[in-house]
C-alpha cells in the first residue's frame, strides 16, 4: 500500500498473539495487524515504547516467532508459507542482531568459531576458505586477528557487537533486523558501532529493519520511520516528515511536539481505524472520532 517498485519485504496484516495469565486465558495481541513494506537497500526505523510489540514484530518478520496470521513476502517468496526445511535454507538471506551482544554469543566459543559457524552450517566454504573469510570479516568490522582467539567475556560490549556483526555478515544477508543493537552501549562506543553498521549496510545494499526507542539513533540510521503503539503501526513515512511534522497524538508525545500545533492535526475516522496518507508517503492511522 505504501511502497515503490523494488520492494524487498512486504508485510501484510501480520498478527502475533500470545496466551498469558492464569490458565492461558488472556490473549495478548503483541502484533495486531501490521502492514508495511521496506524497499531494497532501505533502512526502516521502528520506534515505540517498551512493551509496544516492536521486538515481537521484528522476530515475527523473520519467523523467529511464528506469527498467528498475515503474510511476509521477502523478494517474492512468502516466508510465512515456507516449510521448516526450506525456511532453514532461506535464513541465510535474512539475519538478526540482538540488543545484548554478550548474550548473543555462546560464552564457550572463541570469536573465530562464532564467526565461522554460519559458514559451516550452510557449508559455504571449505576449511581454508572459512579461515580466509573469518580473517576478512574480523577486519571488516574493525577488529584484528588477535581477537579471534578470545571469548566473549574477554571483550568489551562494543567489541562483542562487532563480532556479532561479523557473524551475521558471513552469510551476506540481504535483510537484517537490528533490535536495539546499541541500547547498552556508551555514547562514544555507540557512535563507533552505528557508523560501522551504516557504512557496511551501504556497501552491501542491505535492507534493514532498525528497532530502537532512541529517536536520535533512529533519525541517524533510517530512511523512513514507523511508529508503533500497542501492537499497531500508527504513523509511517520519511524520517523528516514523521519526526519533524508528526501527526498522530502518540508520535507527537514521543517527539515532544507542541500539543496545540494546528497545522498537522491527526485525521479523524468515523468508523474503524484506517491509515490515511497525509502527505506523499506519510501515512497516519486516523483516530476514532
Amino acid at each position: 500500500m505504501m511502497h515503490g517498485a523494488c520492494t524487498m519485504i512486504d508485510i501484510c496484516d501480520l498478527k502475533t498473539y500470545y496466551s498469558a495469565g492464569f490458565l492461558h486465558r488472556t490473549e495478548v495481541r503483541a502484533v495486531d495487524g501490521v502492514s508495511f513494506g521496506i524497499e531494497k537497500g532501505e533502512t526502516l526505523g521502528l520506534v515505540g515504547e517498551s512493551g509496544c510489540g516492536k521486538t515481537t514484530l521484528g522476530r515475527s518478520v523473520i519467523r523467529l516467532i511464528e506469527p498467528t496470521g498475515g503474510r511476509v513476502v521477502f523478494d517474492g517468496t512468502d516466508v510465512t508459507a515456507l516449510s521448516r526445511k526450506d525456511l532453514r535454507r532461506f535464513r541465510r538471506r535474512m539475519q538478526m542482531i540482538f540488543q545484548d551482544a554478550y548474550t548473543s554469543l555462546n560464552p564457550r566459543m572463541r570469536v573465530s568459531e562464532s564467526i565461522a559457524e554460519p559458514l559451516r552450517i550452510h557449508r559455504i566454504e571449505d576449511r581454508a576458505g572459512i579461515d580466509r573469510r573469518v580473517r576478512d570479516l574480523i577486519e571488516a568490522v574493525g577488529l584484528n586477528e588477535e581477537h579471534l582467539n578470545r571469548r566473549p567475556y574477554e571483550l568489551s560490549g562494543g567489541q562483542n557487537q562487532r563480532v556479532v556483526l561479523a557473524r551475521v555478515l558471513a552469510l551476506e544477508p540481504e535483510f537484517i533486523v537490528a533490535d536495539e543493537p546499541t541500547a547498552g552501549l556508551d555514547v562514544s562506543v555507540q557512535a563507533q558501532i552505528l557508523t560501522l553498521f551504516r557504512d557496511i549496510w551501504r556497501e552491501y545494499h542491505t535492507t534493514c529493519l532498525y528497532i530502537s526507542h532512541d529517536l536520535g539513533v533512529v533519525r541517524a540510521m533510517s530512511d523512513r520511520v514507523a511508529v508503533m503503539l500497542k501492537g499497531r503501526i500508527v504513523e509511517i513515512g520519511q524520517v523528516a516528515d514523521v519526526l519533524d511534522h508528526p501527526c498522530h497524538p502518540y508520535t507527537r508525545l514521543l517527539v515532544a511536539a507542541p500539543v496545540d500545533d494546528k497545522e498537522f492535526s491527526c485525521p479523524v475516522s468515523a468508523g474503524a481505524p484506517a491509515m490515511v496518507e497525509v502527505r506523499p508517503g506519510h501515512w497516519v492511522e486516523a483516530t476514532a472520532r
Partner: protein
C-alpha cells in the same frame, strides 16, 4: 584459594590411586581372590598382609580385586546416569511444549517409586551381574538427573545466542550438540562425580544385603561375609576394617573432588550469565 586447590589435587590423587589399583589388580594382588591360600582366619603376617577369612582366602587380594567391582559400579553407573539425564534434560528443556510435558509426566510417575527399594526388588528378581546392576542404577539415577539438566536448558534455550543460531539456519540437533551441551557440561561433570560416589556406596550396600554378583569380589560382600560369619563377635579386625576403610576413603575423596571441581567451574558459570 590455594586451600581449595590443594584439596582438589589431593582428592584427585587419591581417586587415581584407587583407579590404578583396580586396573593393575592382577599384578598387585598376591593371590587369587577366590583361592584357598593358607589357613582360615589367620591374622596378618608376611605372606598375608591382611590375614585370611573363614574360607582361607587372602583378604588383601580380595580387597584389591574388590576395588575393581566397586569402581565399575560407581563409574559405569554414573556414566549411564549422566548420559541419560543429559540427553533427557536437553531434549525436554530445548523442545519444551508437548515433548517436555510428556517427559515430565513420565518422570512424575517414576519419582513416586522409591529408587533403592525398587533396585533391591529388581536385583532379587533378575539376579543381574555387576554390569547389569550398574546399568540399572544408572537408569534409575538418570531419571532424577533429567530435571536438573532440564532446568538449566530451559534458560539456555531462550538465550540470544541460541535464538541467533537458529536465525542463522541451524537445525535443532546442531544447536543442542554445539550450543546447549557445552554449556551444561560443567554441571554434568559435577553430577558425574557425585553420582559415582553415590553409586559406589549403593553398590556396596547391595553387596552387604546379599544382592552382590557372586562371580566377582566386592567390598560389600566382604563386609557382609565378615559380619555374618562372626568377624565382629570374634574380634577379627583384619576381616572387617580394611574394606570399611577402603570405602570410607574413596567416598570422602570423591566428595572432596566433587566440591573442589564445583568451585573451579563456578567462576565460569557466573561469567556465562545465563
Amino acid at each position: 584459594m590455594p586451600g581449595r586447590s590443594v584439596s582438589f589435587y589431593i582428592s584427585l590423587g587419591v581417586v587415581f590411586v584407587y583407579c590404578a589399583v583396580a586396573l593393575f589388580a592382577p599384578a598387585i594382588a598376591p593371590f587369587d581372590p577366590f583361592a584357598i591360600s593358607g589357613s582360615p582366619l589367620a591374622p596378618p603376617d608376611a605372606a598375608h598382609i591382611l590375614g585370611t577369612n573363614d574360607l582361607a582366602q587372602d583378604i588383601f587380594s580380595r580387597l584389591v580385586w574388590g576395588t575393581r567391582a566397586t569402581l565399575i559400579l560407581g563409574f559405569l553407573g554414573a556414566a549411564i546416569s549422566v548420559a541419560l539425564g543429559t540427553f533427557g534434560g536437553i531434549v525436554s528443556g530445548y523442545y519444551g511444549g508437548r515433548v517436555d510435558e510428556a517427559i515430565m509426566r513420565f518422570l512424575d510417575v517414576m519419582m513416586t517409586i522409591p529408587s533403592f527399594p525398587l533396585l533391591l526388588i529388581l536385583t532379587i528378581f533378575f539376579r543381574p551381574g555387576i554390569y547389569m546392576t550398574a546399568v540399572l542404577m544408572g537408569f534409575l539415577g538418570g531419571l532424577q538427573g533429567v530435571r536438573i539438566i532440564r532446568s538449566q536448558v530451559l534458560s539456555l534455550a531462550v538465550a540470544d545466542f541460541v535464538v541467533g543460531t537458529k536465525a542463522l539456519g541451524a537445525g535443532d540437533g546442531y544447536i543442542m550438540a554445539r550450543h546447549i551441551l557445552p554449556n551444561v557440561l560443567p554441571l554434568v561433570g559435577v553430577k558425574f562425580i557425585f553420582s559415582a560416589q553415590h553409586f559406589m556406596v549403593v553398590g556396596i550396600g547391595l553387596g552387604f544385603l546379599g544382592m552382590g554378583d557372586p562371580a566377582v569380589v566386592d567390598w560389600g560382600q566382604m563386609i557382609q561375609r565378615a559380619t555374618q560369619n562372626g568377624g565382629i563377635i570374634l574380634g577379627l579386625w583384619w576381616w572387617l576394617i580394611p574394606p570399611g576403610l577402603a570405602v570410607t576413603f574413596l567416598s570422602l575423596a570423591l566428595a572432596w573432588f566433587g566440591y573442589a571441581f564445583e568451585d573451579r567451574i563456578n567462576p565460569r558459570l557466573q561469567v556465562m550469565r545465563v
